[in-house]
């Protein structure tokens, strides 16, 4: 970075910060999905769990909407390597 432009630095860095934390969020959701201890608890108390899940679905939905523009476009523009990032998601 020989001639850094403050605005460009901000855009680059905020993109990375958002991307990293967004990916972290995806993994948190993944942990919740694969959580073996959660499933055991869910079955006996199905009625109690359902409303919580209804609350959560719109949130996930909203998050995807919010970040679709910022994150996905910037990452997609980058080339084939970002598919590697996404593949980590499926670990």
């Amino acid at each position: 970075m020989d001639a850094p432009n403050p605005v460009l630095i901000m855009v680059i860095n905020m993109t990375i910060v958002f991307a990293v934390l967004y990916i972290l969020g995806l993994f948190i959701r993944l942990i919740h999905v694969i959580d073996p201890t959660k499933i055991k608890k869910a079955e006996p108390k199905k009625e109690a769990i359902k409303p919580v899940e209804q609350v959560q679905v719109p949130k996930d939905d909203m998050a995807d909407k919010t970040l679709a523009a910022i994150i996905v476009t910037s990452l997609m523009a980058y080339g084939c390597k970002d598919f590697e990032i996404k593949s980590i998601r499926k670990l």
Partner: protein
């Protein structure tokens, strides 16, 4: 009698009183003012008290701190040994549960880093080079250890001013944030009540720090030791089988390192490094960074509020600057002012701890871009 006078005179001549210059005196006064802020005003006293005392000590002429315990403490600062050890304790003290329960709040922790880059830009406009500007910007992250870690690596001469600004503004969060929060939100938004957070399982709590370490450290190796220690401390806390280590990380070790880190930071505050226009600029930019981060957090909270159909109270966005747990408490207080039955604290803890990770990521990004 003559020998007596000669001896007394020689002790006096070698004393600090004779060598004392205006720079020393001013810095000692600065140290005393910081002590007043720490003890009298209660600004982050655990850190500002030893920082301020170190500032006083560092400005005694001929103090011989090029050797002995003060030299050793200085080495621990220069070699970046202390900040990751503090983060070990921070990790052991941090409950990531609210974040895991509602991972969307990570976005608020990201948005609040905006202040970091506003201040970075401002610093560059004021003539700081990009390394210095990054170190100044990080004040807006409201994370002392991260700020000290970054400043030590990128701009060691500014370390004292940056640490003082970071810790001072962190304790001023209850004064700085509320007006900004009210400016950008309507009473209706502030009154929004948020649903109960779901329970987080032990499995999730244990896997989270491990996974976060891997994802972040692989992408941003310069902060591997910071994130690694933070998450190791959290793993000690959550594993349920390492309580001894969690306890020591939070208490004995964290307190010992806090004393050394803060005293050592104060010891870097020599007159030639601190008594410059730059220090005033840093303090001003720090305020810009805090305000910018708060505003960005609240505004992003408004966006999330809209997108969620009014289920998210934008006030929790300001907690994304971290300053754990003070910023979250400010969200709680402002929420209750608008709606006395409102209870935002746990929801604000999500962005609050996300802000710690966000600032570390921002520091890592800047190190990756501007580091040696």
């Amino acid at each position: 009698m003559d020998a007596f006078l000669v001896a007394i005179q020689s002790v006096w001549t070698d004393s600090g009183y004779v060598a004392l210059n205006m720079g020393n005196i001013t810095m000692i006064v600065v140290g005393l003012i910081l002590l007043y802020l720490a003890i009298g005003k209660g600004y982050e006293p655990l850190l500002l008290t030893p920082i301020a005392f170190g500032c006083v000590l560092a400005n005694f002429p001929n103090n011989g701190f090029h050797e002995g315990v003060m030299w050793a403490i200085g080495q621990g600062i220069q070699m970046e040994i202390f900040p990751p050890l503090i983060f070990l304790g921070v990790g052991a003290m941090t409950d990531f549960g609210p974040l895991i329960a509602n991972p969307n709040t990570l976005m608020l922790g990201a948005a609040a880093q905006f202040g970091v880059f506003v201040a970075l830009g401002g610093a560059m406009l004021l003539g700081f080079n990009v390394q210095e500007a990054a170190s100044i910007g990080i004040i807006g992250g409201a994370d002392g250890p991260t700020a000290i870690y970054l400043a030590t690596k990128l701009a060691p001469d500014l370390l004292g001013a940056i640490a003082v600004a970071a810790y001072s503004y962190m304790s001023l969060v209850p004064l700085i944030q509320p007006p900004i929060m009210r400016l950008f939100t309507t009473k209706e938004e502030r009154a929004i009540k948020m649903g109960q957070l779901r329970e987080v399982t032990r499995f999730e709590r244990i896997v989270f720090p491990i996974m976060a370490t891997i994802i972040i450290s692989l992408l941003l190796p310069p902060i591997a030791s910071l994130i690694g220690m933070l998450m190791l401390g959290n793993l000690f806390r959550e594993s349920g089988v390492t309580d001894r280590l969690s306890d020591t990380s939070q208490n004995a070790l964290c307190n010992i390192v806090t004393i050394f880190l803060a005293l050592g930071t104060g010891l870097t505050m020599s007159a030639d490094k601190f008594l410059r226009l730059q220090t005033v600029e840093i303090i001003f930019l720090g305020l810009v960074a805090f305000a910018g981060g708060t505003a960005a957090g609240v505004l992003f909270g408004k966006v999330m509020c809209k997108l969620s159909g009014g289920k998210i109270n934008p006030l929790i966005g300001s907690a994304g600057v971290s300053a754990v747990p003070m910023a979250a408490r400010v969200s709680q207080i402002e929420g209750q002012k608008a709606n006395p039955s409102n209870y935002l604290l746990m929801h604000a803890m999500g962005p609050n701890v996300a802000g710690v990770i966000g600032t570390a990521v921002a520091a890592g990004t800047m190190l990756a871009m501007f580091g040696g």
